[in-house]
């Protein structure tokens, strides 16, 4: 992306996370600007979810600093949480509440008045096509329905920054399209979206800029044309081609002859 969309909204500097002797994230530095739809891509176990958890305060970094919406996460965690909405990889919801009850609960926890919480809940249930099941306990939902409920809860307070970890996993195509449109509208209004996915087509279609993480380090970062430039002979390569080159993946073309 040529233009700078806005001021820096997410700034990570030298992020490191170690679990015992394993280094999951190894010195990541990132800047994501206001209104960007930032794709965070990487193979399984590359450190995507760990990074997202650190950026939204669910995991304490071993080293490094994080600023979100101009607030220092270490010193002002509640201020940061007020500005962000998070859809974690696993939808960790209060499963003994119904979707409607949970969304109203979430809205009130963000300080919204009850009538506004109810209004937004109705709209979001409609958007996520959960209205018919709104009274059912979440524990009885399918995985996709839980994910949609979690996404609705992440949107309900109209956050400035959205962290979405594999948001479209397990969600039906109709809802994917509806959600995608909402996310686009949000970025147009200045919301910053930090988005991790395995699906290159989705990233290619939605993201204004991407970073590719491998073995806990940033292997490449920029707009898709910029990444093509970085790759020797990039030409008309797709994001998937770029991704495979950057993570040095073994595609299995020359093995499994017996298959």
């Amino acid at each position: 992306m040529e233009e700078q969309i806005g001021e820096a909204t997410i700034v990570a500097n030298g992020l490191v996370k170690r679990f015992g002797t394993v280094t999951a994230v190894d010195g990541i530095s990132l800047v994501v600007r206001e209104g960007e739809f930032f794709g965070f891509l990487g193979p399984n176990g590359a450190g995507k979810s760990t990074t997202i958890k650190m950026l939204c305060g669910l995991l304490r970094p071993t080293a490094g600093a994080i600023q979100v919406a101009n607030f220092d996460l270490a010193r002002q965690p509640l201020e940061v949480k007020r500005q962000i909405g998070v859809l974690p990889e696993e939808a960790n919801l209060y499963e003994r509440l119904s979707a409607e009850e949970f969304l109203i609960f979430a809205a009130r926890m963000y300080g919204l008045p009850l009538d506004e919480a109810q209004r937004r809940t109705t709209d979001l249930l409609e958007l996520m096509e959960l209205t018919d099941d709104k009274d059912k306990l979440i524990v009885d939902y399918s995985m996709g329905m839980k994910k949609k409920t979690a996404l609705a809860a992440a949107l309900i307070h109209r956050p400035r920054v959205l962290f979405l970890d594999e948001p479209f996993n397990g969600i039906d195509p109709v809802s994917v399209r509806a959600i995608r449109n909402v996310l686009r509208q949000l970025t147009e209004r200045g919301t910053t979206i930090f988005f991790s996915t395995h699906v290159m087509e989705v990233a290619e279609r939605l993201c204004t800029r991407v970073a590719i993480i491998n073995h806990g380090r940033i292997a490449g970062e920029g707009t898709i044309p910029e990444l093509r430039e970085q790759m020797a002979g990039g030409g008309d390569s797709t994001l998937e081609d770029i991704f495979i080159k950057l993570v040095d993946a073994h595609t299995g073309d020359d093995t499994l002859n017996w298959l």
Partner: protein, 549 residues
């Protein structure tokens, strides 16, 4: 069949690698074995001696009931959520191109190395030792017992397979959370009451040989018992006849189970009761109480939201049902210990000390809840800690509901105890002591919950607390916490007890407000220190609550 050894090998690896991965489970199993194995061996010795000592056919009648007991245990245990063997997950193997009947037989043979099966074997050995009186008899008895064992295991599996959907449903798990402890409670009451009322003048021989047990003769335990009895009496043809019957039933059961595996393999698992449409009314039905507006008027929004959520969880989360059952269990134990007469004689001297002690026991009965306030949040704690809300208000909202719920239950139980004892002399003093001391307990619980969070893991109808590696350390902390609460409650107890017994009653006008202020201060102090502590330790608490096995 090559698959049998493959499946047996799989079972062997699953069992022993499970212990390698989880040393705590190994220690737990060893401790359980140390407790259960002597019981199983003791029962085997006891029944073996009785088979030997009792005359025929009384010993055969006893065997009939012993086999019936084993049968009942194996058929009921899986329904109550006890996974007696790995074959519970037989459906995992349905992906592979192995005939369902082979999978089933493999799991059946594999279950022979399960501890529950191994612990049942001494009872069978006792049958042989008690009844064998000839070589042909020994062979017939051995065949009868092996057939009975295979039939029982096969039927147990068939029941699980037939109800696989139901057993895994949330509703069934919720039901057995209540049903399991109720069965335990009934068993406890029976074991307590039977000796008091039945020991004298009971004719055990008449009970064993009572015609009311004759229906058992036409069931598999009856066939096995009659085969053993006939072989013991040297009646070979009847013995062979009963063996043939047992063989038919066993083969039939294995075929039935194989058929059920086939049904499951093509996605026709029977009786999944989870209703998807129309929308379940559960959410509305189980949520009385805190209607938004009333709560909102009186409480800050975050406190109201958390309190409302906690209140709904009280009615919906199985952990609370289980905790309530535990309190009820303890209450029944108190009743049995102090109220019911012993051996038909007069009851224990019901002095005031008993009631004061019962008050203390009720007070500490809820520590499982108060000392682990984030336990029921489980993985949803990730969501809770993402909210930018005041941590003080979150804790207060949780405490408020816990206090109201526990106070209501405890006071109700205390009043019931007074009614049963027909002794109301100190009811209001004990109620006040209970309620004020609960504030101290909740205060201590906040600190313990933040410093030593515990993950709750549901196993059958039991909810286990796991401290993710801290092992016995947490147990020690809970003990220390309970001791500290006792010490901290002493001023409250003094303020209530001293004017009750030793100084004029008008002193209550001074001591009770002081005690209330003291309890309130302790609680306020705990909020002051846990609020910043929670902010600091949120990531650690989440790590504990999300920890994998």
């Amino acid at each position: 069949m090559p698959y049998l050894s493959l499946l047996f090998g799989l079972k062997w690896k699953l069992t022993f690698r499970g212990f390698q991965r989880n040393k705590l489970a190994l220690v737990g199993t060893v401790l359980a074995l140390l407790f259960v194995a002597p019981m199983a061996i003791g029962m085997a010795i006891g029944t073996g001696v009785l088979y030997h000592v009792l005359a025929f056919p009384t010993n055969a009648a006893l065997l009939r009931l012993v086999l019936l007991g084993i049968y009942g245990f194996w058929l009921l245990a899986p329904i109550l959520g006890f996974a007696l063997n790995e074959s519970y997950d037989i459906t995992k193997l349905l992906l592979y191109p192995i005939a369902p009947r082979q999978i089933f037989l493999g799991s059946l043979f594999s279950s022979l190395i399960d501890f529950p099966v191994l612990l049942t074997l001494p009872l069978f050995l006792a049958v042989l030792l008690g009844f064998v009186n000839s070589a042909p008899g020994a062979i017939l008895m051995l065949i009868a017992l092996v057939l009975f064992l295979f039939h029982t295991l096969a039927l147990s599996q068939a029941i699980i397979l037939a109800s696989v959907g139901a057993l895994r449903s949330r509703r069934w798990r919720d039901i057995i959370m209540v049903l399991g402890p109720l069965i335990g409670l009934t068993f406890y009451l029976l074991t307590q009451l039977a000796p008091r009322y039945l020991v004298n003048g009971v004719n055990w021989q008449r009970i064993l040989e009572n015609p009311c047990w004759n229906w058992v003769n036409y069931t598999p335990p009856g066939f096995a018992a009659r085969a053993v009895g006939a072989a013991y009496a040297g009646a070979w043809w009847p013995a062979v006849g009963f063996l043939l019957l047992l063989t038919l039933v066993t083969v039939g059961t294995i075929y039935l189970a194989g058929y059920l595996v086939q049904l499951v393999s093509v996605g026709e698992g029977v009786s999944n009761p989870v209703r998807m449409h129309p929308a379940s009314p559960t959410a509305r039905q189980a949520a009385p109480a805190t209607s938004g507006s009333a709560v909102d008027r009186w409480l800050p929004p975050v406190v109201a939201a958390v309190a409302e959520k906690e209140w709904k969880y009280l009615f919906r989360d199985p952990f609370f049902k289980m905790s309530f059952m535990q309190m009820l269990y303890m209450f029944v134990v108190i009743i049995v210990a102090v109220v019911l007469p012993r051996h038909g004689g007069p009851g224990m001297e019901l002095g005031a000390v008993t009631l004061w002690t019962a008050t203390g026991i009720l007070l500490f009965g809820g520590t499982m809840l108060t000392f682990n306030i984030f336990g029921t949040d489980g993985i949803a704690a990730t969501t809770l800690f993402l909210f930018p809300s005041s941590r003080r208000q979150i804790i207060f909202g949780k405490n408020l509901v816990m206090f109201l719920a526990e106070a209501t239950v405890n006071v109700a139980l205390l009043v019931t105890l007074h009614v049963l004892l027909r002794n109301f002399a100190y009811l209001w003093q004990q109620t006040l002591l209970l309620v004020m001391s609960m504030l101290v307990l909740i205060a201590a619980g906040n600190i313990i919950s933040v410093l030593f969070p515990m993950r709750l893991v549901m196993q059958g109808w039991r909810m286990q607390q796991q401290s993710a590696g801290k092992g016995c350390g947490r147990g020690l902390v809970v003990m220390l916490g309970t001791f500290c609460c006792l010490l901290l409650s002493l001023p409250i107890a003094t303020a209530v007890i001293v004017p009750t017994y030793w100084i004029p009653a008008y002193w209550f006008a001074l001591t009770l407000p002081l005690a209330a202020a003291y309890a309130g201060s302790i609680y306020w102090f705990s909020l002051q220190i846990t609020t910043p502590m929670l902010m600091q330790r949120e990531t650690e608490i989440m790590a504990t609550l999300l920890a994998e096995e």
